[in-house]
């Protein structure tokens, strides 16, 4: 009787161990960071988070379906809606006002050829997210626009991301230079893309 209980326990433990290693084996090698340094990674993400939560980034990653506007991140005047593809609805599409480049003047529309919100099927919300929540979201392809780690690394050079540092007249810049942001972004990812603790 005792022997059969021990054998059953060993069997269960072996099954659990196999399941765990199978899960790990499913990760492609390219997805794994070259080195793992959770302290350096989390420290770098503090900087990344400060930039992503600044109005130039967060205003187009709203929790609702209306983009945000201004340094106080109020709801966009005229209440344009996200639409299925993130480019607006009917006569209220982003590109109807937002031109391929910034329109001169303090209260005129900023511009970029790719101006849009994330699409309705993957909203990639920044607004209201803690650093831990946002870090986890950013590395999850099901929540980050299907990006691999390699694509995520390259995203700091995306045209719309770079627009944040040339936002046109009357808009404050993110809290550090693009070069400093890029360095922090890469340090965060290359050291394991760790999320800060939930209370951080």
């Amino acid at each position: 009787m005792i022997m059969s209980i021990i054998l059953t326990m060993v069997g269960v433990m072996a099954f659990a161990w196999r399941s765990g290693s199978k899960k790990e084996a499913m990760l492609p090698l390219s997805a794994l960071p070259l080195k793992k340094d959770s302290i350096a990674s989390v420290k770098a993400f503090e900087k990344v988070y400060r930039v992503l939560m600044s109005p130039r980034c967060m205003n187009c990653h709203p929790s609702g379906d209306i983009p945000l506007q201004g340094d106080d991140s109020h709801l966009h005047e005229m209440f344009p809606k996200r639409g299925k593809d993130g480019k607006g609805l009917f006569a209220m599409k982003c590109g109807n006002c937002h031109q391929p480049s910034n329109t001169p003047g303090k209260h005129s529309p900023p511009g970029n050829a790719e101006w849009h919100l994330p699409p309705a099927n993957m909203k990639m919300v920044f607004q209201g997210k803690s650093a831990a929540e946002l870090a986890k979201q950013l590395i999850d392809p099901k929540q980050n626009g299907n990006k691999s780690m390699k694509q995520l690394l390259a995203h700091s050079e995306d045209g719309l991301v770079r627009w944040g540092w040339k936002p046109g007249e009357g808009r404050t810049l993110p809290p550090m230079s693009h070069a400093e942001f890029k360095k922090a972004w890469e340090t965060w990812i290359n050291n394991g893309a760790y999320a800060p603790k939930s209370n951080q």
Binding site: K81, F90, M92, N96, Q99, T103, H107
Partner: protein, 157 residues
């Protein structure tokens, strides 16, 4: 020299590529149905269609419009008989009328993309077109009527 195709007619104009399309339409070509309201894409009075989209011509540079298909209020229909124009007339929508070419051009995109719009769809489409006379209830009524006219027109064909 910049080539524009407006209401299916080709135009060649000498102008700075940074000139707003609205300036070219009104001052160089003489199509004055499109109005200047705010000049910063806030009011919708200057809406025209650029490749079918309801762009604000006050901030759209000629460099973006060159070689593209532009439709102004003058080209919305051949005989002022677009369902929206008929409905606008039937409901007597305008008061001062200044904003209405922009209102019509925006509503035309809505009806093309959504032939049977709800009140919410109308709000979503028209919130960027300001009317200082406050004709919004009549605009809503006329868009619903135009949707019916468009449907009947489609059935008759």
């Amino acid at each position: 020299m910049i080539t524009l195709t407006i209401n299916q007619q080709p135009y060649q104009i000498e102008a700075d590529p940074d000139m707003p399309l609205l300036w070219a339409l009104r001052d160089l070509i003489g199509l004055t149905g499109t109005k200047y309201g705010c000049g910063v894409a806030q009011c919708g009075a200057c809406v025209v269609h650029l490749n079918g989209e309801a762009v604000r011509s006050c901030v759209t540079k000629l460099s973006r419009a060159a070689g593209q298909k532009i439709v102004t209020i003058e080209g919305l229909s051949k005989n002022n008989d677009h369902p929206l124009q008929l409905a606008w007339n039937e409901v007597s929508v305008p008061q001062c009328g200044y904003c209405h070419s922009g209102q019509l051009m925006s509503a035309a995109v809505l009806l093309r993309e959504n032939p049977n719009p709800t009140d919410q769809d109308i709000d979503n489409a028209m919130a960027g077109n300001i009317c200082r006379c406050g004709t919004y209830p009549r605009i809503r009524k006329a868009i619903h009527l135009a949707a019916e006219l468009q449907k009947k027109e489609g059935e008759a064909k």
